[in-house]
């Protein structure tokens, strides 16, 4: 009898110990790279060549100013990235909400076919249409311009799907009808009633679209040609392409840190919504 009550107790302890062990190991594997990155970004080229130490050096400011004056327009790249990602996030969420509203609130001919089409194209990777996309941009004289990186985000099936599901749970048809009774126009209803109601879901999707665009390398590397127009991922790839071992390694680490840490800071501030958003949405990419 005594053994019987003792045994499950022990096994819970054992499992809990194992769980914490694995969790701490995973957390270590997820964080250690960024720790090393931070340490190395604070050390000078000479210190770095002498091997790794787990303590920060004193070259943080020097590496930072070195990066500002390096051959690569890193700060400009960050501004470009902010511009492209910010506009993409705004356009993507506004128009995806609009698309979701069209499917949610109106019963028109072809509605179901349209919904199925949007879901069907959800999984098509951008890479498989890249060839035609580049040819199109060339013909439209939109190569080396941000238009091709920003405007396509208006048609984002995954964002649409998430917002549509959220809309199903918060927006009742009777609310829309009440607005009509009060004489509100359809665009007015959409902008003044639907958008505010959808704010939590829009915020989550805006973050995901921003981060997705911020991290995107494939399309920008094909479209952007002028050095001062390039976004951060393209500049990072250039850094890899150069004979970078001749570079000041402190500055190389600083440049990588400069492109990674803003996202980490934003994430830590908003992690509650982001993790919750993944949980709700299921699909991200």
């Amino acid at each position: 009898m005594e053994q019987k009550t003792k045994k499950p107790h022990n096994s819970v302890h054992g499992r809990r110990f194992l769980a914490y062990f694995v969790l701490i190991l995973m957390s270590f594997l997820c964080l250690v790279w960024f720790y090393i990155l931070f340490i190395n970004a604070t050390r000078s080229n000479g210190e770095l060549s002498r091997g790794f130490t787990p303590f920060p050096g004193s070259n943080l400011v020097k590496n930072f100013t070195g990066m500002l004056h390096s051959t690569q327009p890193v700060v400009r790249g960050m501004l470009n990235s902010v511009l492209v990602s910010g506009l993409s996030a705004i356009l993507c969420t506004y128009f995806s909400t609009m698309t979701a509203y069209a499917i949610h609130a109106y019963r028109f001919k072809g509605r179901k076919a349209m919904y199925t089409l949007i879901l069907a194209i959800m999984m098509i990777p951008t890479q498989v249409t890249a060839l035609g996309f580049i040819q199109l941009l060339t013909k439209m004289k939109l190569m080396d311009s941000y238009v091709g990186l920003i405007i396509p985000s208006i048609a984002a099936p995954a964002t649409f799907f998430y917002l549509k599901q959220y809309m199903d749970s918060v927006l009742s048809i009777s609310l829309i009808e009440a607005a009509r009774m009060d004489g509100a126009g359809e665009f007015y209803t959409f902008n003044k009633i639907v958008i505010p109601l959808m704010k939590p879901a829009i915020a989550v999707q805006a973050i995901f679209t921003f981060v997705g665009s911020w991290n995107n390398y494939f399309t920008p590397s094909l479209v952007l040609k002028t050095e001062t127009k390039k976004t951060l991922p393209v500049l990072i790839a250039e850094l890899r392409g150069a004979d970078f071992l001749k570079f000041d390694m402190g500055i190389v680490y600083m440049t990588i840190a400069f492109s990674i840490f803003p996202v980490i800071i934003v994430y830590l501030l908003l992690s509650k919504y982001i993790v919750g958003g993944v949980q709700l949405g299921g699909v991200k990419e």
């Binding site: 019963r107 069907a120 390398y217 992690s271």
Partner: protein
């Protein structure tokens, strides 16, 4: 707002008038979709039937050659090599990813374990998913370089006598790519599986516990079978993502896919065709990838039953 001045029981005619607004609200999506996705898809397919490339300074084509590009690409040993590379590197990342995610999700949702700091761990483990893959790959390249910190640590600890050339070893480079994918996607999969596990009727677990089932038995006999649809969903979406693998191996190997092109993925090869303006072969490769992801997507569609749920 003429409709509003009419009597409210104007019936279906009024509703019909409103419903026309559906087209207007759909218009932005539809226009952008047609211009930036449908037309490019059509021209990509069109291109795949033409001989069209540059040989030095000379432009060859475009000449219509039917399915010759497909015949050429499907009989090319390169294609199968790169498909193999892509799948191997995907598997190196996916196998530990699904195992660890299953464990973590089971632990997170087990009330008897009552783990502390769940939110902290979820936040940390999800973090790498948001990191710029190209910068992450660049970071790994510097860390694992011949004179990088990992080698200097291993030498200092006396584990090796001289730096190990990670990027000259096929196994090491492929493993690094797989490992990075593992780190980047485990958090995401854990959260998906957790949502699935929390959807399982808790009375099933209680009944099993009353019957004296061990945690291990409950996991294998109840959790896993009920989780199967989500597991298949995770498997296929991860495979679709894996087929698109590009940023990490591209930056890690500077686009060369070295050593010996053993880390060259399908999209890296496509990228090469796009840069060299070999539109015929690039088109054929794109169409093959489109068909492959199409088949996999239809499978996802069936599992999630999206087509049924659409109309309420």
């Amino acid at each position: 707002m003429a409709a509003n001045t009419k009597s409210t029981n104007g019936g279906s005619k009024k509703v019909m008038r409103y419903n026309r607004w559906g087209y207007i609200f759909l218009l932005p999506f539809f226009i952008v979709f047609v211009i930036f996705q449908l037309i490019p898809l059509a021209t990509t397919i069109y291109n795949s039937f033409f001989e069209n490339y540059r040989s030095g300074l000379k432009q060859i084509g475009p000449n219509f050659i039917g399915f010759a590009n497909y015949a050429k690409i499907l009989s090319s040993p390169d294609l199968w090599k790169y498909v193999g590379n892509t799948l191997i590197m995907w598997l190196i990342g996916f196998i530990p990813q699904i195992l660890v995610s299953l464990l973590l999700a089971a632990w997170f949702t087990d009330p008897s374990l009552n783990l502390r700091g769940k939110r902290f761990f979820k936040t940390v483990i999800y973090l790498p998913n948001l990191i710029m893959a190209s910068a992450f790959a660049m970071l790994f390249f510097t860390l694992f370089a011949d004179s990088g910190p990992v080698n200097s640590m291993l030498v200092q600890m006396g584990l090796i006598s001289k730096p190990f050339k990670f990027f000259s070893s096929t196994v090491a480079t492929r493993s690094l790519v797989g490992f990075m994918n593992f780190i980047m996607w485990t958090g995401n999969t854990t959260i998906l599986l957790m949502a699935g596990m929390m959807g399982i009727d808790p009375t099933l677990f209680e009944a099993a516990e009353v019957d004296g089932a061990s945690a291990n038995q409950i996991f294998r006999r109840i959790t896993l079978p009920l989780l199967r649809p989500i597991l298949v969903y995770v498997l296929i979406t991860s495979l679709i993502g894996g087929l698109q693998m590009f940023d990490v191996p591209q930056i890690l190997t500077n686009g060369s896919g070295d050593p010996a092109r053993n880390t060259m993925t399908m999209v890296m090869w496509l990228n090469k065709h796009l840069y060299s303006k070999n539109y015929g072969m690039g088109g054929a490769l794109s169409v093959l990838m489109f068909l492959l992801t199409g088949v996999l997507s239809i499978a996802v569609f069936h599992i999630t039953g999206n087509d049924e749920k659409t109309d309420r």
